[in-house]
């Protein structure tokens, strides 16, 4: 769990490197890898886990369900 109590996971194996999560992350907190995955695509990586708010916009845009997010923000409050 990060500072914001967000548990976010990018699955490099599923990712096709479309970059839609990168464009829509309101925190500019996602980048593409230099390396390629076994499908031959660059893959999305979180830049700083502590800056992720768990908003889920990246999940919503991902055509390949390569992102999963669990956050207990509300449970904490």
């Amino acid at each position: 769990m990060s500072k914001n109590n967000v548990d976010i996971h990018f699955d490099a194996h599923r990712c096709k490197g479309c970059g839609l999560c990168v464009i829509f992350c309101p925190c500019g907190n996602i980048r593409m890898s230099d390396a390629l995955n076994e499908q031959g695509h660059p893959y999305a990586e979180l830049i700083d886990a502590d800056r992720c708010t768990g908003c889920g916009l990246c999940f919503r845009m991902c055509p390949d369900t390569a992102i999963e997010i669990r956050s207990n923000k509300t449970a904490k409050r």
Partner: protein, 243 residues
């Protein structure tokens, strides 16, 4: 606790879709709605001929494969024989509005109690980017290299507007998957359409403006802009019928 995880109805299989293709997003939304409504065990879908031809490998409910354009006719049979099942078709614009025009219009007109998920990507995806009935004026495709023209090819067919006047149609909405808010609107629309069917109200259809970066020859980020700036002007999103 906020969770954003794979819906149960979406299989783990990695899809064959191109990077940034809208089909993957719509599959997930469809699976989320089926989960939410708790109808997985009684849902039967039809896979189209088109890029989503192998969608039965991705969606974990009963599915059949239909000949190109014929899904609404097949779905009519399924629903009439199994009125207690939830029946949906998933069709591209070539499938639904070109080869399947007759099936679409007459199924809608008969008010068959089925739900149609219509993917409008203004092109024939699977076959390599030929003009679709929904291709926009001036849009270049492999069969309209100079751009679609009003005199020759005619203008794009607006499916929601066309079906609106038919008595048997109960719900029509056009949405997109080109931004997070559009994605949410699509999910709401798919849910609404299934609810209409559950309530036995008749024909429901959701038209989703969807990205085809490959055949548009655009990068995924430019494809999203193409939907938001060009397609939405020609195909305004919104509810076209709700009765």
């Amino acid at each position: 606790m906020a969770t954003f995880t794979r819906p149960r109805t979406l299989k783990e299989t990695i899809t064959h879709y191109c990077p940034g293709c809208g089909h993957g997003i719509v599959h997930r939304l469809l699976a989320e709605v089926i989960d939410e409504l708790g109808i997985r065990e009684k849902t039967i879908g039809t896979a189209p001929v088109g890029c989503a031809v192998m969608m039965y490998d991705y969606i974990d409910c009963d599915m059949i494969e239909c000949a190109h354009g014929r899904a609404p006719a097949a779905a009519t049979g399924l629903k009439r024989v199994h009125p207690d099942k939830i029946v949906f078709t998933y069709q591209g614009d070539g499938d639904l509005a070109a080869i399947g025009t007759a099936e679409t219009i007459h199924t809608a007109n008969r008010g068959e109690n089925i739900t149609v998920i219509f993917i409008n990507n203004v092109i024939y995806g699977m076959t390599g980017g030929q003009m679709a009935p929904t291709t926009m004026l001036g849009q270049r495709t492999t069969t309209t290299p100079e751009g679609r023209g009003m005199h020759g090819e005619g203008g794009p067919i607006h499916v929601c507007e066309l079906l609106r006047s038919l008595e048997g149609v109960c719900y029509l909405e056009r949405t997109a998957v080109s931004s997070p808010s559009d994605v949410l609107a699509t999910r709401r629309a798919i849910r609404k359409a299934f609810e209409c069917q559950i309530a036995g109200k008749g024909f429901s259809l959701v038209e989703v403006l969807s990205m085809c970066p490959t055949d548009w020859k655009l990068s995924p980020d430019k494809a999203v802009k193409f939907v938001n700036h060009e397609m939405k002007t020609v195909f305004p999103v919104g509810v076209y019928k709700d009765k």
